[in-house]
């Protein structure tokens, strides 16, 4: 029997059964994880991957644990890469206790929220130059961030606008008065949710990563102008490596495969 009395160093012990405290608040219940906000002098979050009764227990345990570990590992790699030019803003990892991951809490909106509630709200063709330039900047930030990630030898695996946050951005309602602070350039783009991320040097995998992003953008934000994607790809290419060229070429093939797929039945 393991002794469960509270003691000093949790990292050296078997992790206790995960038990959210009374003062924690649930901020997101997604498909495979619950995100709890933990109050304190430094606010933290616990990302709890829960077990899925529908899948085989062996598979379930493998997936929840390996994704938790992969997420922690790659977050750390993004924060402290060997080449300091490749630093990507991601939440700081505080503790890895599969299936729970403790992270720094990020104050801000997801890019999805920011787009839908602000940038794409009543966006007309060309009259709103301010929003248009903000969109352009946002696309640049996304493109160069993904470029760095790939140069680092990682893919994200789930590049969607829900998995990017803008530090310090605020909901429309709270924002009205101080409209000058609204600009994307003032908010640092931050990448989250690395559960499907992995280390890889395959151009195919990088291309699929971009393909997922491309499809997520068009299906989630049908109003997004075509130029948004183009800007992302341009900024992606500016990253140092020739590899970007190879990846974009490969992306062409991946897209074609999608369109040409034999579909019947």
């Amino acid at each position: 029997m393991t002794d469960t009395t509270a003691s000093a160093d949790v990292t050296t012990k078997k992790p206790p059964v995960f038990q959210p405290q009374d003062d924690w608040t649930l901020i997101s219940q997604g498909a495979e994880a619950r995100i709890w906000k933990i109050p304190g002098t430094t606010v933290k979050v616990a990302k709890e991957r829960f077990s899925k009764a529908y899948r085989h227990p062996t598979l379930d345990e493998k997936l929840t644990k390996s994704r938790c570990r992969a997420e922690g590992r790659i977050l750390e790699k993004c924060r402290n890469p060997k080449d300091s030019n490749l630093v990507i803003d991601v939440p700081q990892v505080l503790r890895i206790e599969p299936p729970v991951l403790y992270l720094e809490f990020l104050e801000g909106l997801t890019v999805r929220e920011y787009l839908e509630d602000h940038l794409l709200l009543s966006l007309k063709d060309d009259d709103d130059t301010e929003k248009a330039s903000e969109l352009h900047q946002l696309a640049q930030q996304i493109g160069s961030m993904v470029g760095k990630l790939h140069t680092l030898g990682c893919i994200h695996g789930d590049l969607t606008t829900s998995n990017m946050m803008l530090r310090g951005s605020q909901p429309q309602s709270k924002r009205a008065k101080t409209e000058n602070d609204n600009n994307v350039s003032k908010h640092k783009i931050t990448l989250i949710d690395f559960g499907l991320a992995k280390n890889t040097t395959s151009a195919e995998e990088r291309a699929v990563d971009l393909y997922v992003l491309e499809r997520a953008l068009t299906s989630t934000h049908p109003k997004l102008p075509q130029s948004f994607l183009e800007t992302i790809m341009e900024s992606y290419k500016l990253e140092p490596k020739k590899a970007a060229e190879a990846t974009l070429q490969r992306l062409e093939q991946v897209r074609l495969r999608g369109r040409k797929r034999e579909c019947f039945g």
Partner: protein, 395 residues
């Protein structure tokens, strides 16, 4: 194999996302009857569907079908499948009409429009059915309505279950997609980046020598249920809301070639079988792995779109294990899984008639010169004019 229609009329009232029918001569009639012809894969079917204005219901009057079954170890080839459809489609039209209007000397006089599958599917088989549709249109002097095959599955599913706005998992021989409606399109949120789920199962069935009768997927399911089937770890490939099956297929094929227990081995006692795997093990593990991936991306789409109803359409949807897994996931989320139903899972003529009649009632006819068919026709390419353009809210 002829299926008889025994299903009663379905009210369209639960479909709150549908727009009211526009004023038009056709919509002022008490009844509207359309004929639907489907033949995009190995099944050819003809359905007669009647809309009744007074109670706003749609009813399948008949829905006969024939299936082309390839010999064991082979897939169905386009040419033979086309021949099969050509050989049967006229008789099916006749049967469908007679069944729909039993005592009528001129049953075709009831038909207001002919709906046919434009794609996606295999060229030859699609073409064979389109030729039949065009001929009937000229003969009976009624308009044509081209239908996207997948939209047919979805609309029949919505009507049969009354689920107005579900997340749709479309799983068949040639397709694997997670779909949610937004802005008059069925948008594809996730899909396979290589081969379709049904294709993966069919090819695996061939490798281990399972029969195509009634379908390879059905035989894998039976094999997987055998007692003592052990779980073998396989690759698991999910990318966001997309999935990839080809690597898994290669992996199980290799396992089948290298580690499968041979019949003789088991007869000779168990001496050296410790490292061996049975067909049942492989079928079971393959299902567990592939279906977990499908359920996972469906759940992602639900969370993404803030939706809590799921509709599974397409032939692989008949698999009981997939339904069970989906049902567990959905109930854990407090949602509902629409009941499975032959009217929208397996390809048939009535589902083409169902999507077709919606289009027809909204005046969407297809000119003769536009009745060409296409092997590639993505679900999000056709405009869903009969639904409100409301968007889902993100959570």
């Amino acid at each position: 194999m002829t299926s008889r229609a025994t299903d009663g009329p379905c009210s369209a009232k639960p479909l709150v996302d549908n727009l009211p029918l526009p004023e038009s001569t056709i919509n002022s009639k008490e009844t509207t009857v359309v004929l639907g012809i489907e033949g995009s894969a190995n099944k050819v079917g003809v359905g007669v569907l009647r809309y009744q204005k007074n109670n706003h219901t749609y009813e399948i009057l008949s829905n006969p079908r024939k299936t082309f079954i390839a010999p064991t170890g082979q897939g169905f080839l386009p040419r033979e499948t086309a021949w099969h459809h050509q050989a049967h489609v006229v008789a099916l039209v006749r049967t469908a009409l007679q069944e729909a209007f039993p005592n009528d000397k001129q049953p075709e006089a009831h038909v207001d429009a002919i709906c046919f599958t434009k794609g996606p599917g295999m060229g030859g088989p699609l073409q064979s059915c389109a030729v039949c549709a065009r001929t009937l249109s000229l003969l009976w002097k009624v308009p044509l309505v081209a239908v996207n095959h997948c939209v047919g599955h979805i609309e029949m599913g919505r009507l049969a279950t009354g689920a107005s706005n579900p997340v749709v998992l479309y799983v068949s021989g040639g397709n694997t997609q997670v779909i949610a409606y937004q802005d008059q399109r069925y948008r594809i949120f996730g899909e396979t980046i290589d081969i379709a789920i049904g294709n993966c199962l069919d090819r695996f069935a061939r490798v281990i020598g399972l029969s195509n009768d009634p379908s390879p997927g059905y035989n894998i399911e039976q094999e997987a249920k055998k007692e003592g089937a052990q779980y073998v770890e396989l690759p698991y490939v999910v990318k966001g809301m997309d999935v990839s099956f080809s690597g898994i297929l290669t992996h199980v094929e290799t396992l089948a070639k290298t580690r499968l227990v041979q019949e003789e081995d088991s007869k000779n006692g168990e001496k050296d079988n410790s490292n061996k795997i049975t067909k049942a093990d492989l079928c079971y593990s393959l299902q567990e792995t592939l279906f977990a991936m499908l359920v996972e991306i469906t759940e992602r789409a639900m969370a993404h779109c803030g939706q809590n109803q799921v509709l599974i359409v397409g032939g692989v949807g008949c698999n009981k294990r997939l339904q069970d897994m989906m049902s567990i996931m959905v109930s854990e989320r407090g949602g509902t899984l629409c009941a499975m139903d032959h009217r929208y899972c397996i390809d048939n003529g009535a589902m083409i008639a169902q999507a077709g009649v919606f289009a027809f009632q909204f005046g969407e006819l297809t000119k003769m010169e536009d009745t060409w068919v296409t092997q590639r026709y993505r679900t999000d390419q056709s405009k869903i004019v009969w639904r409100r353009s409301a968007q889902w809210k993100h959570t």
